[in-house]
């Protein structure tokens, strides 16, 4: 039996084990000339080198920003280094939501920062086409260290796709990412992150989101492929009346993958609403699916839903937590962990599907949480990825 506490526990990672990135990569003048190997790895995580229907593109390979281009009115996207040079006010947004002292990873990111993206929408700008950013690791055994800032000014709207991948599945390395998102009054941010790291990669993003009155953050997180160890538990602070947070995650843990993934939302004002939905499948790996909601005022409302399927022996550990401090908070949760219901399999078989077809149909359905706000092409890509993964698992 597997013990969730012992393997890949965050404190256990030894930073000395990884070496700093040795060199740098050249800037890509023409994205269409990127090799098919690389562009395919990027496409798998939602990054389209043809930049079809994209508002902006940012690509960081190891610690080098190799491409950055924003051609859309009301939108800025560049490396955080360039942004800090351009805007002296930006310093005031760094390390406001997260503390460098949080753990050894944030402390490392503070001491040795290497780029990251800055995405900024002007007040009222409605940017409908997705903004894509890719964080890519190519050097064996290295650390990728980044600091990202997203600022959505009042009443603006952005759809961001972040694809994170390593050059090949056998690569080892450590990805550290500090991300601070600011969603101002009435702004809407859809943030979709797709990971495809590899069996030996260790991943420790640290994220915090601040949402003002009437603002909305919708975050979708998808990890379908093997990963050595991954730990992320973004914190969202709903700090203005009527602010909304919705977090969806789709997790698959095959052979020895270790995923400790959750979302935490603080509902600090009346009328704030939060929803956390997670779907996990373990087929030989570990998933710790966390969720926490903290209600501090009357009139806030939240729902947490965590469902896990165990296809192969592994561990599916659901930890939903609700903390209410005053009367008038309205929070609920629903958690279920188990195997596929035989009745569902036989129902489909009675319609002519063989057992394997029935199981994969059920798995696909299970994983297809209705992720809102995705561009149709990306939704189709995710659907395809789910289908492939589900075929691999069987």
């Amino acid at each position: 039996m597997r013990d969730s506490v012992n393997k890949g526990k965050p404190g256990d990672l030894d930073l000395e084990k990884y070496k700093p990135v040795s060199g740098s990569h050249d800037y890509i003048e023409d994205l269409s000339r990127v090799g098919t190997n690389e562009s395919q790895r990027w496409l798998n995580v939602g990054i389209d080198v043809s930049e079809n229907n994209r508002a902006a593109t940012f690509i960081q390979k190891d610690n080098s920003v190799v491409y950055s281009c924003a051609k859309t009115e009301g939108l800025e996207m560049m490396s955080i280094g360039d942004a800090l040079k351009k805007h002296d006010w930006l310093e005031g947004y760094m390390w406001q939501l997260l503390s460098p002292d949080k753990d050894q990873f944030t402390s490392r990111s503070n001491q040795m920062p290497y780029n990251g993206y800055f995405i900024h929408s002007a007040p009222g700008a409605k940017i409908t086409r997705p903004i894509q950013s890719c964080l890519y690791m190519a050097e064996e055994g290295s650390i990728q260290n980044i600091h990202n800032i997203i600022i959505a000014e009042e009443d603006s709207e952005m759809h961001i796709i972040t694809g994170c991948a390593s050059a090949h599945h056998g690569m080892s390395g450590l990805h550290l990412g500090v991300s601070e998102f600011y969603v101002k009054k009435g702004a809407v941010v859809h943030f979709t992150m797709i990971h495809d790291w590899g069996e030996k990669a260790d991943v420790r993003p640290r994220t915090a989101v601040h949402v003002e009155e009437g603002g909305v953050i919708v975050s979708n997180y998808i990890s379908l492929h093997p990963v050595g160890s991954l730990e992320m538990y973004p914190k969202t602070i709903l700090d203005g009346e009527g602010a909304v947070a919705r977090f969806n995650s789709i997790l698959v843990a095959t052979n020895d993958s270790w995923l400790d993934v959750g979302s935490r939302v603080l509902l600090n004002e009346p009328g704030t609403r939060a929803e956390i939905i997670s779907r996990g499948i373990t087929a030989g790996g570990t998933i710790i699916a966390r969720g926490e909601m903290v209600g501090k005022v009357a009139g806030c409302k939240g729902h947490l839903e965590c469902k896990g399927l165990i296809l192969n022996e592994g561990l599916m550990h659901a930890i939903p937590e609700l903390k209410g401090y005053v009367p008038g908070v309205d929070m609920s949760h629903e958690a279920a962990v188990g195997k596929i219901d035989q009745r569902e399999i036989e129902y489909l078989m009675a319609r002519g599907l063989d057992e394997d077809e029935a199981v994969s149909t059920i798995v696909r359905g299970f994983l297809s949480v209705n992720i809102e706000g995705l561009p149709p092409a990306l939704a189709a890509e995710i659907d395809r990825a789910v289908t492939e993964t589900q075929e691999d698992m069987m």
Partner: protein, 253 residues
């Protein structure tokens, strides 16, 4: 079409069906009456091959082939189709995708079929999720229209359906069994067909469905025993007049 010989079925250690003999010839619709708990659903589930129903004796033949131990999907592919009374919800599987799966690659106008059963607004919902009794029936029949089985097993098609919808439901069943006057274009492979080939076993304990469909024969199941084979309407008259207990006694005498 379907032949059941000396069938004994157990759930766990409990005998649910005892030495059942039944024959449904090609093109005939038979009604299976019986009070609650008599074993009607169990018989249907056993014909379809569901787990949990252990065949402890006898055999089931379909189109002359012994299917007693055949996997569920092979029976379906041979041409047996079931309308379940309480089918499970499959989260994330849209009804229209379920219907497509049922058609197994056959060309199909789902919108047209759904329109026939007044179900178009449900196509994008997860199959059976929060469906009412009547909606489940329509969903099941829609799936069967796509599946096109030769032998149709319907478990209490009228239960939970309000009066308004029961006429529609009767029409759909007749359409499915090629006994109706209405038929959607996409379901008419040969308009000059002379002989009806669809067979059916319709389970009912109230018998209301008989007001809407025609049947060739009726049988009564009581306590796991099949105890009467007669004209379906005649049986229904008996049951309505005297109740199941009396009806069963007639057989014993």
């Amino acid at each position: 079409m379907l032949q059941i010989e000396d069938l004994v079925v157990k759930i766990g250690d409990k005998t649910i069906l005892d030495r059942i003999n039944m024959e449904i010839p090609e093109g005939e619709t038979h009604i299976l009456f019986g009070p609650n708990g008599s074993g009607k659903t169990s018989l249907m589930m056993t014909i379809m091959g569901f787990s949990g129903y252990t065949v402890a004796g006898g055999r089931i033949l379909f189109k002359g082939e012994d299917i007693t131990h055949m996997p569920v999907h092979e029976r379906a592919r041979m041409g047996i189709g079931v309308s379940f009374q309480r089918p499970p919800t499959i989260a994330g599987l849209k009804t229209k995708d379920m219907v497509t799966l049922c058609s197994r690659g056959r060309e199909l106008d789902i919108e047209e079929l759904a329109d026939r059963v007044n179900f178009t607004q449900f196509l994008d919902r997860d199959v059976n999720h929060n469906f009412s009794g009547g909606e489940i029936k329509r969903s099941e029949l829609l799936q069967l229209m796509a599946q096109q089985p030769e032998l149709v097993l319907l478990d209490e098609p009228e239960s939970g359906v309000d009066l308004e919808n029961i006429v529609l439901l009767g029409d759909i069943v007749n359409m499915l069994l090629e006994r109706g006057v209405k038929c959607p274009r996409s379901l008419t492979p040969n308009p000059h067909r002379k002989r009806r080939t669809k067979s059916a076993l319709v389970i009912t304990h109230t018998g209301h469905i008989l007001d809407y469909i025609t049947a060739d024969r009726g049988q009564v199941l009581h306590n796991g025993h099949l105890c009467c084979v007669k004209n379906a309407r005649e049986i229904l008259k008996w049951i309505r007049e005297y109740g199941y207990e009396e009806c069963v006694r007639c057989e014993i005498v």
